[in-house]
Structures are given as C-alpha cells and as structure tokens.
C-alpha cells in the first residue's frame, strides 16, 4: 500500500531564509508525486508534480522538489522564502484505482515565515 509521511508538523523560518519541507513515501512502484499548498480559507493548489525523468522538478513561485528513489523522498525546497509563503503544505502520492487515480496525502506541514 502506498503512504506518505511528512515528519515535520510545523516549520518556522525567517523571511529570506532557505526552506526544505520533507516528504517520504512508500510505494512498490515509482509513484506520481505532488506538492500542494493550502492558504487559509482556500482550496489546495498544486505547486508541482513529478511523473518521471529529471528528478528535480520546478514549480510555481520559486519552489522545486527533488525525487529520490533510493531515499523514497520528495522534499520541497525554496531558496528564499517570503512571508506570503506561510501556509500548509501537503505532499501526496497518486495511486491508480481502475481507470482513475486517487491521492494519498501526508499530514501536512504548517510553514510560518517570520519577518
């Protein structure tokens, strides 16, 4: 069975600092991986996705993530965070169910960016 672990429930960084949010997955096959962000009172928005190929994928707003098969990880990074990046970040793996797919989510990491 596929699963996703986000070991950090809350991360606090200063504005302008670099960021890494951790995500570990468990899957018997190479998964499709996603990072979503949720701002207050809004739906989840896709930051980036990995299907295959280059293990480093670029997303919106300067975010990137690196897929590592050996470490079963898909960590999210940003070189310099802004206060507006404060939100909840979800890592997810896509699991095939018949002709469709469902998303398996981690618990989420709340990012607080301090001025």
């Amino acid at each position: 069975a596929q699963s996703v672990t986000q070991p950090d429930a809350r991360v606090t960084v200063s504005e302008g600092a670099s960021l890494q949010l951790r995500c570990k997955y468990s899957s018997s096959v190479t998964p499709y991986l996603f990072w979503y962000v949720q701002y207050p009172r809004q739906g989840l928005q896709l930051l980036l996705k990995y299907y295959s190929g280059d293990p480093v994928v670029q997303g919106v707003n300067g975010f990137e993530a690196e897929f590592s098969k050996s470490n079963s990880s898909f960590h999210l990074r940003k070189a310099s965070v802004h206060w507006s990046d404060s939100a909840v970040y979800f890592c997810a793996v896509s699991m095939r169910t018949g002709n469709t797919r469902k998303l398996i989510f981690g618990l989420g990491t709340t990012l607080q960016v301090q001025p």
Partner: protein
C-alpha cells in the same frame, strides 16, 4: 486558474439529520472526488465519480453516504443519517482526466455533527 467551489463553507447539524454538501467543479472536468479530513489527521480519499457512476469508494464511504451529479449541476455528497464521527472537513476535487492529471480542490466544507 480553474476554481472548484464548495457550498456551504460550514454546516452544523444534529446527529441523525441528513446533510448535503455541494461542489461546483471546474466546468469541463469529467472526474470528481470527495476527500475527508478529520481535525489533526490526514486527508483521506472517500470516493471518485465519473460518467454518472461511482468508480471507487474507500472504507470510509459508509452506506449512509451517497454521491450524484444530476444533469451537470452540483456534484453532491449526501449523508443520511449523520453520525458524530462524520464531523470533518470535506474537500471536493475535480480533474479533466482520470490518469495522473492534476486534481483541482475546493476550499472544503466544515461539517460539525452535534
């Protein structure tokens, strides 16, 4: 970008009552999903729906749950009767394709069952 709307944002009802959660998916999308998130826990898949039919449902999708999308209107999740353990935030999502394509999510409906 494309938006999924959910109505209402918050619903409070007494245990045993019926509740209908409404989702207005992205207009040209064909696949629809409900996810459930209990406070402090992971968001979990409930059901997906395509071409008027449930494609797959999880063990969380109890017999008291039903989904439909009559005539291209709202995609609804109905719970009848409700139980205390149904208190959660319910997220609707839609996608154009059923493959690994992006699912677009609504802001969620917070359901409180008293």
């Amino acid at each position: 970008g494309p938006k999924v709307l959910q109505i209402p944002s918050h619903q409070i009802i007494d245990m045993g009552q019926m509740v209908t959660l409404n989702c207005d998916p992205v207009s040209n999308h064909l696949y629809f999903y409900w996810y459930k998130q209990i406070l402090g826990q992971q968001m979990e898949f409930l059901v997906n729906f395509y071409n008027g039919k449930v494609m797959e449902k999880s063990k969380l999708f109890k017999d008291q749950f039903s989904v439909e999308r009559p005539d291209g209107s709202y995609f609804t999740l109905k719970i009848q009767p409700t139980a205390l353990e149904d208190s959660a935030v319910y997220f609707c999502a839609s996608s154009l394709l059923g493959g690994p394509g992006e699912q677009y999510f609504g802001p969620g409906t917070r359901l409180t069952v008293l």
